[in-house]
Structure formats: structure tokens, C-alpha cells
Point group: C2
Chain length 284, copies 2
């Protein structure tokens, strides 16, 4: 079985970039979705928008990341749109990451892993994001699935303004990083990744890279969310590998005033621009 880390490396090298398009369908910004519609109509509008995004970006980037919350706010029809979008993206040849930040233990964690990763479950995604606070046991059901080529990204160090309050200077993020790195013994980049924020001080990013040398970093927030090239370069391990650079809003959403009725050309232009900027990050 090819590990998730190697699958991701192969896809990045095949596409020539480590860009990840984040699909965060904010209801007030989706062409054709209006507040007066029924929940079912809005969920169908979300699913249609996701299909358009996936068709446009599938030839351009190796990975899409779907943000579960934005679907769940529409209840069961929204969850159905999440499931169908994951399946549609897999069929389009993309690696699919479900950004759900699930974090639990025992049979509950097992059920979350089954819900997101298992090929005989509803989604069969390639990877998920996992919140580790309950302890090392919260990683176990996800580890089990790395044996069949699945992966997961552990929240290690985020870069929202308040992240330091509970993650920095307490040792907890360092301990979690150690657990992640132990799961990536090499050769190659391992199946367990780490979420490492885009707007941390570069010196701190270098420290996390030293602590997790063979780990894929998922780096949210490039571009519209505030991080520039110099923020993101230290996340890479070598060449264009090791950092999966994600952007959502700047690819998905047009500036206000743009005609929402034919969104594909505009989506393509924005995705190509995003990919160009990620390519320019290539290091060493």
C-alpha cells in the first residue's frame, strides 16, 4: 500500500504544485443561493457550486479541502451535499481532505474515522483534520487507517491571534508535535500531517519543521487570509514538498459586483492565479 504521505508527494509532483483549494461554502456568497430558499434548495445550490469548483480545479491542483461546518449548518441536506461533494472530488481524481477537526476517543473516535475515511463508509475521503486535545488515544482510529493509504492532519500550532494562549509556552503543542513526528519515521514524508498556521513568526515555523522533519504541514490562510510568500516558505521540507498550501476565500469568492451566473471562468482565473503564486514559493 502506498502511504498517504507518498500519495500526496506523487500528486504534488504530478501537478507541479502543492496548492490545496479550500471549499468553505459560505451561504451568503454562493451564486444562486438566496436566504429565502428552502434548506433543500440551498443545499442543492451549495452542491452545484462545489461541483463547479471541483471541475475547474481538478486539472490544476492536487488536493481539495472541504470544510464540514459550512455544510452542517444546512442540516441533513447540507451533510448530504458534503458527502456527494467528497465523492465527486474523488471521482475527479483529486485527493480529498475533510476539514472536520474531529477529536474524541474510543468508539466515538472510531465512528468519526469511519464516517470520513472508510471506503465502505459514506465519504471515503483521503484524509481528515483531527483535534488532539483528548490525548494520544484520539489519534488511534486514524492511525489504523493509515495502513490502507489514508492520512490525517493533527492540529499542532494554529496562527489565529489567540492561538498562543493555550498552545504556546505550555509544552502541549511540542508534545503533540512529537507524537506526530513519531508517526513519520521516513523514508519519505509520513502519513500523519500537522496543521501549522501560515502567519507564525518564521523562526517558530523553522522550529516546528525541525521537530517534525518528515511530516506534511497543512498551511491554511495563504493569500486573502493574510499570509504572504515569506510566511509560507519556511513550512516546506524540500523542493515543493512538505507544505500543502491552502486557500479558500480568494479562490472561491468573486469580488462583489461580479456576475454570479457563470462562475466558472472567474473561478478558473482565480484558481490559476493562486496556483501561480504557490508555485513561486518553491524552495531549494
Amino acid at each position: 500500500v502506498t502511504t498517504f504521505g507518498d500519495r500526496l508527494s506523487e500528486r504534488v509532483l504530478a501537478l507541479g504544485n502543492p496548492a490545496c483549494v479550500g471549499i468553505d461554502p459560505a451561504l451568503d456568497r454562493i451564486p444562486g443561493v438566496r436566504p429565502e430558499m428552502s434548506v433543500e434548495e440551498r443545499a442543492e445550490g451549495v452542491a452545484a457550486f462545489c461541483r463547479a469548483v471541483i471541475e475547474v480545479v481538478a486539472p490544476l491542483v492536487p488536493v481539495v479541502k472541504l470544510q464540514a461546518a459550512f455544510f452542517e449548518q444546512l442540516g441533513a441536506p447540507g451533510y448530504a451535499a458534503l458527502v456527494s461533494s467528497v465523492r465527486f472530488a474523488r471521482e475527479a481524481g483529486l485527493l480529498v481532505l475533510v476539514d472536520a477537526k474531529r477529536g474524541d476517543i474510543g468508539s466515538t473516535a472510531e465512528a468519526y474515522a469511519r464516517a470520513i475515511l472508510d471506503d465502505d463508509g459514506p465519504m471515503g475521503a483521503d484524509a481528515a483534520t483531527v483535534s488532539p486535545y483528548p490525548g494520544p488515544e484520539s489519534l488511534e482510529p486514524w492511525d489504523k487507517r493509515t495502513r490502507v493509504g489514508k492520512g490525517y492532519f493533527v492540529l499542532v500550532r494554529t496562527s489565529n491571534p489567540g492561538a498562543g494562549a493555550w498552545q504556546r509556552g505550555t509544552g502541549v503543542a511540542a508534545r503533540i508535535a512529537e507524537a506526530v513526528s513519531a508517526r513519520c519515521p521516513g523514508p519519505g514524508l509520513g502519513p500523519v500531517g500537522a496543521v501549522v498556521g501560515a502567519t507564525l513568526p518564521p523562526g517558530e515555523v523553522a522550529l516546528w519543521r525541525t521537530r517534525m522533519p518528515r511530516t506534511w504541514f497543512l498551511v491554511p490562510g495563504f493569500g486573502a487570509q493574510g499570509a504572504g510568500p515569506d510566511d509560507v516558505r519556511p513550512h516546506f521540507a524540500r523542493g515543493r514538498l512538505g507544505a500543502l498550501v491552502s486557500s479558500s476565500r480568494e479562490v472561491l469568492y468573486p469580488p462583489s459586483g461580479t456576475d454570479p451566473d457563470d462562475c466558472r471562468p472567474a473561478l478558473r482565473a482565480r484558481a490559476e492565479s493562486f496556483v501561480d503564486r504557490v508555485r513561486s514559493l518553491e524552495v531549494g
Copy 2:
């Protein structure tokens, strides 16, 4: 607006016990649900079992807690069963806690809060569990909803065997506890609760109680999951208030051999036994 902490206190006093029945529908233990069924049939079996549990326990306990993962593993039909079970439990007069351990920031966290708590959203539950690792911002959208009587329980200190690896001795749990306690200024017990494991050393529980004197503790794992009365008594704040004592497996599941076709009498007997044991915890 009556705050969630006061609503919970009122319900506990009205029912005469602080017991919470956890609804964790493990697919292999639900009467009438078989692996060869379609996903839709299994989800309908889960929903029917949840309705039976809710009807049986509604006159006995103040709160039910639904574990999202067990529904999500059935995909969209399972999510629909979660939504309908939450609504059914609310209509039965129960306070409803969705144990989803969501943890994110910004618009994503807002979408999760909307998905679970908002009365004009899909579920309209009374409270949720929240995983705080991303930082204080992860609490903001949930805080906003405390103004309309909703609540949430923050993962502070769990008691799974590995919990200490990242929570203990690092200061992080103490800092999170401080943030929780600041949201419960009194008088009365506040709208923001804390998950504090049942099988911690009693001295440590007393410490958490001192750090969060006006906070409801959600205490999972009483009974079948290993905690006894002496483990759980220190979680209370006063009388039968302050600790919401939860049990799932020992109420939900019959010993093997029980006739699955009429599970209600057995459910009632087990729920009554659970409530009796929780009542016997009353302190001071």
C-alpha cells in the same frame, strides 16, 4: 432570558436528579438494526431506537446527550437521524446536549454553532460540547448564543488513560479552566460548562472545582464506564447541582439475549436504576 446554567439547575431540581442519558447508537447493539440492511434502513432503525430511548427517559432525567459521531458514520441519513432525534427530545421536554466536540475559529466555528444551537437552524439544541485547542476564539460563537439561553461544555480535563499526556502538568487545562470560569461570574451556575472526567483522582477533581466554582461539570463515564460514587461526588458544587452525571452504555444496551423487539421495559428498568444511583450521590 434565563441562562443555560439556570435552566439546567431548574430542570435538575424539578426532576430531582442530575442524570444525563448519553445516546451513543453503536450500530451493532441496536435492536432490529442489522449489517445487511441499507444505510437508509439502518438510519431509520437508529432513529426509532432513539425515539424509544427518549420517550422512556423523558419523565426520568433532565438531559440527554447525543453523540454525533455515531450518527455521522451512517452519512447523510445518519445525520438526518441525529437532527430528528434532537428535535424529538426537545419536544419531549428534555434539555438536549449534542456531544460533537466541535472546535474551530471564525466563520467555521460560527457555522458549527449555528448547525447545533440555533433555533432557526437544523437542530436548535440547548448545548454542545466544544474542543478548545485552537484558542479562546473557538469559544466566541458559542458565547454569543449564551445570551439567548443556550450553553456549551468545554473539554477541560478528560480522564481517558492518555489524557494526562497533553492536558496535565502543562498548564493548558488550567488556562482553559480560567477562561471557562471567567464566563461564570455568578450568581448561580453559569452558561458555560466544563467536561471533567469521572475517573480522575478525587484531589484533582477538587482542584478543578475550586478553579471553576460556578461552572456545571459534565461528567461522562459513571457506571459501566468505570467510575463509582466516590469518583463522582467531588464534581458537585452544592447539593445535587453542578455535576451533570452521564452514562450511555449501561442505560442503552441490554445484556446479550434480551429480546430486541420490545426494548422499552428493559430500557426503563436500566434508566431507573441509573437515576437511583445518581440520586444516591447527593452531597451536602
